[in-house]
């Protein structure tokens, strides 16, 4: 910032001039945060979500068969940390610990996690669902199954803690995908409307003609490369997909370079309006009218190897409509505001106006859609694993634990605790969403 030249008064009496303190910064986000903080329930929900995230991150330290720190045969180990290193390929297990039964080793001293079990550990002494209230065959109270065990003797508490990780990651991954699609389509529809996007006939025709060969060369001829990569591993598939997509983009960009040739013809030089809003709104309508659960059932019927990534993908691919609608509605309002007109008058390009000036102001309602979307993604995931659809059978999630209660009707603890976890998580996200709705509502600012 350029400094103003000092006035003679300031030069003469530098200490005496009162520099007025800056006015209290009531920026938009500060106002929102203040409004949000008034809603005590929403604040507590947010705190609870932070705890959930911590639990998800630290699940290995909270419930694990491996000790956090131990001294074994004269050496000090930290098996939980060591496992991360081994998984990353940085370290290896010493031979005597390679296939160790961690709970049966004789340690010199040991610090164990709060729950000394992994969700998949079978406690053969406490099989067939032992109630948390009844007598358990355990060495000491340290080994007690606080929330009981399931049919195979797996600890419910450990499953709950590790299930947090799955529930949250499904929510986050699928909603990131939904956010990406929703922002893109919503901003296109809202900012350009039905009349905003005008391109010359030449470009329209050229692009319509180009899409097919671009698709053909980037995806069609690479079909087997993608197919084999998918059979190989998910990450290599993503890499190949990225390559295909960039090939597609390069092809289109290269083709668009030739647009000047077509523009020689006066007929093709004329501009046409593209009804972006109409097209995208119809698309949203189609997506909304497909019953998500049935769609997921159909897709998982054709997927031979169930995987959490596929569940995340489908939830993300179907869950963007809420975000897109919010962004669209906001941008429809914003694009008529004066500052956008000013930006246009300054000669900025449409794309820059959208990304730099319009979109940042449309983001706040997205938060609401995101909170509700996370809640419904977590609910959908638990519903799917409850039905045993799409989620691998060996993965222990809140939903799959709840479904075990159906097989053993006497095991009330299997129904109560995982279900309560689902309920609590979904409710807190909903409450945060409600709190955000109120905080962002201009009518609430009195």
């Amino acid at each position: 910032m350029r400094k103003l030249p000092l006035t003679p008064h300031e030069v003469l009496f530098p200490g005496l001039v009162e520099t007025s303190p800056p006015p209290p910064a009531y920026s938009y986000w500060k106002t929102v945060a203040r409004q949000f903080r008034k809603n005590r329930l929403a604040v507590w929900s947010l705190r609870f979500i932070i705890i959930l995230i911590l639990v998800a991150l630290l699940a290995d330290f909270l419930a694990n068969e491996k000790p956090i720190l131990c001294k074994y045969e004269g050496k000090i180990y930290s098996p939980v940390f060591r496992e991360y290193a081994v998984d990353l390929g940085l370290s290896q297990w010493p031979r005597e610990l390679l296939n160790a039964e961690w709970n049966k080793l004789r340690y010199d001293w040991v610090i164990r996690p709060v729950i000394p079990y992994l969700p998949q550990n079978l406690d053969l002494l406490n099989e067939h669902g032992v109630s948390p209230l009844s007598h358990q065959v355990v060495k000491s109270i340290r080994w007690r199954h606080w929330l009981g065990t399931d049919e195979l003797g797996r600890d419910v508490f450990a499953g709950m803690l590790h299930g947090t990780r799955i529930a949250l990651s499904v929510g986050i991954v699928s909603m990131s995908l939904a956010l990406l699609i929703g922002l893109l389509l919503g901003s296109l529809a809202g900012f350009f409307g039905d009349e905003g996007l005008q391109i010359s006939r030449a470009r329209l025709v050229l692009n319509l003609l180009l899409i097919f060969p671009a698709f053909f060369y980037s995806f069609g001829t690479r079909g087997y490369a993608l197919h084999d990569a998918l059979a190989n591993s998910f990450s290599s598939f993503l890499l190949q997909l990225l390559f295909s997509c960039s090939l597609f983009g390069v092809f289109l960009a290269f083709g668009n370079g030739f647009v000047f040739v077509f523009k020689r013809i006066p007929y093709l030089r004329k501009k046409v309006k593209i009804p972006v809003d109409l097209l995208i709104s119809r698309f949203i309508e189609i997506m909304v009218s497909i019953p998500t659960l049935f769609l997921i059932i159909s897709v998982s019927a054709i997927v031979t190897k169930p995987s959490l990534f596929i569940v995340m993908g489908i939830i993300g691919l179907t869950g963007w409509t809420g975000i897109a609608r919010f962004v669209r509605a906001e941008l429809l309002r914003i694009r008529n505001l004066e500052y956008i007109e000013a930006a246009r008058a300054l000669g900025f390009r449409e794309f820059r106006i959208l990304v730099r000036h319009a979109l940042p102001n449309a983001l706040s309602p997205v938060l609401i859609a995101l909170a509700f979307g996370l809640a419904s993604a977590i609910l959908t995931e638990s519903l799917l694993s409850f039905l045993g659809i799409g989620v691998p059978a060996e993965t222990i999630t809140w939903g799959s634990m709840l479904s075990m209660a159906r097989q053993t009707p006497t095991a009330w603890w299997l129904a109560l605790f995982p279900g309560f976890a689902i309920f609590l998580t979904v409710t807190t996200y909903n409450l945060v969403g409600e709190g955000l709705t109120d905080a962002l509502d201009p009518r609430g600012k009195k």
């Binding site: 097919f212 001829t221 909304v288 009218s289 049935f294 998982s300």
Partner: protein, 476 residues
């Protein structure tokens, strides 16, 4: 007005088409061969040449009756290396291998010649009479041939060819007839390699098939109400759906009705009594109800009220079926008794949702000036609330129908599963696990259709009641 309705109906058609396309392409990519399930085909490979030929014939006939020998869609966009008649190959695995081979070598003539040679080899081996002496080498040779059908990798093809050429060199009992076939098989392979034209796959090609294709057949029949044949019991899908639909539709409609009947007065009460303790408790309860996952509540109800270690008040999902010869009063009473728990689970969510909306709508109406005017006129509170405010706040709640109805329909999967009700949800759930695709995709399409129609009806109803909606669109 009419224009708005027509516009909405007009949009309905492409949406329905898009959904049908999505459904169709999911179903086409479904793994496994549907005909295997229909024909109960056993593993091929054993048996004599005649058996194999006759089983292939029945397979081809079944393929024709079910229309699987038609091209998939009106046109294909592929490359010049692919033959446009690939869809005629009956076996799915063979089809995929052939597709891949022609993609790799670019010469359909050579590829099909290679495939014909494999087939010849297979039949030559089948014609050789088995003796204890040649049995094991014959088995090896047959296995190699079956493997060759699925291979597109050069090194693997070479490996299995070398396994076969053992016949030539070895002093085994099956030389003679087989030897010539092996030589021509190798010849076909080398000719395929020689004439390879791998660049051909970079030339795009479009092929038009016209209306005799699987999608056209499937969708035109679907519109006429013929949903295909269930793979599992060979019944028409429409009859299974007709059996299941009354359950789902009945419970859903009943629950939506109940939800509206209860939630409207509850919502109005909550708005009128705003700020009182009873209202606060009620509103919190509604919120909790709204966010309770219904499958959790259903499971809990079953565990705590239907036997188990706790109460046994209601018959559980595994209760004995009602005998057919029972009197109708007995039947009705028992069905109603069994439906209490499912209905609760079906209803409470939408009940809470509608109540909350009703309360919100009513609250914003009560603040309006005309309500103050009505009070100022000296009208009694009852008239003000129920005659002036209520009518105007009812409007948005009615349109919630388009959101509540599909919820009630799709909520059926898990609740019907828990309570063992033979409705649409249970039907598609079972179809999923038995890979009975016609049922799954019919249910998907019907549900989408119902959802769309619900939206359409709600939109039109809204436009009729509130003319501002269609006008505002016109102005824009």
């Amino acid at each position: 007005m009419l224009r708005y309705i027509l516009k909405r109906v007009f949009i309905f058609i492409p949406t329905m088409l898009a959904i049908s396309l999505i459904t169709f392409f999911i179903s086409v990519n479904a793994p496994g061969d549907p005909l295997d399930q229909i024909l109960n085909k056993n593993a091929v490979g054993d048996g004599q040449a005649e058996d194999k030929l006759s089983s292939e014939k029945t397979y081809r006939e079944a393929r024709h009756t079910y229309g699987f020998d038609l091209p998939l869609f009106y046109f294909t966009l592929s490359n010049a290396a692919y033959p446009d008649t690939l869809y005629k190959i009956p076996d799915e695995v063979h089809r995929n291998t052939l597709e891949r081979l022609s993609w790799k070598y670019g010469d359909w003539k050579e590829v099909s010649a290679w495939y014909r040679q494999i087939r010849l080899m297979e039949f030559t081996l089948l014609h050789i009479s088995r003796t204890p002496a040649n049995s094991s080498s014959l088995n090896d040779a047959q296995n190699a041939v079956y493997q060759l059908y699925n291979q597109f990798d050069d090194s693997k093809i070479r490996f299995f060819l070398s396994t076969l050429s053992v016949i030539k060199q070895d002093d085994c009992k099956i030389r003679g007839e087989a030897e010539r076939s092996v030589v021509s098989l190798e010849g076909a392979y080398h000719s395929m390699l020689l004439h390879a034209d791998p660049e051909k796959k970079y030339i795009p090609s479009i092929h038009w098939y016209g209306t005799s294709n699987q999608y056209h057949r499937w969708f035109s029949r679907f519109i006429c109400g013929d949903f295909g044949i269930s793979y599992q019991d060979q019944r028409p899908v429409s009859s299974s759906i007709l059996d299941a639909l009354p359950w789902t539709a009945g419970i859903s409609l009943l629950s939506v009705l109940l939800a509206y009947l209860i939630s409207i007065p509850v919502g109005v009460r909550a708005a009128v009594n705003k700020g009182k303790l009873s209202e606060k408790i009620g509103t919190t309860t509604l919120f909790v109800l709204y966010s309770l996952p219904n499958f959790w509540i259903a499971t809990m109800l079953v565990i705590f009220l239907c036997g188990g270690d706790w109460l046994h008040v209601f018959p559980g999902p595994g209760a004995a079926p009602i005998p057919d010869d029972a009197s109708w009063i007995y039947k009705i009473v028992h069905i109603a008794y069994r439906l209490i728990l499912p209905l609760i689970c079906w209803t409470y969510g939408s009940l809470a949702f509608i109540s909350r909306q009703m309360r919100g709508g009513m609250l914003s109406i009560v603040r309006q000036d005309y309500i103050r005017t009505a009070r100022a006129k000296g009208l009694d509170e009852h008239t003000v609330i129920w005659k002036h405010a209520f009518r105007n706040s009812l409007l948005p709640v009615i349109t919630l129908f388009s959101e509540v109805f599909p919820l009630a329909v799709s909520g059926s999967v898990v609740l019907e599963h828990i309570f063992n009700i033979p409705g649409m949800g249970q039907l598609s759930y079972e179809a999923l696990f038995s890979k009975n695709y016609p049922v799954i995709f019919s249910v998907l399409l019907i549900t989408a259709f119902l959802t769309l129609s619900g939206n359409l009806v709600a939109d039109i109803g809204y436009a009729i009641v509130d003319p501002r909606i269609s006008f505002s669109k016109k102005k824009k």
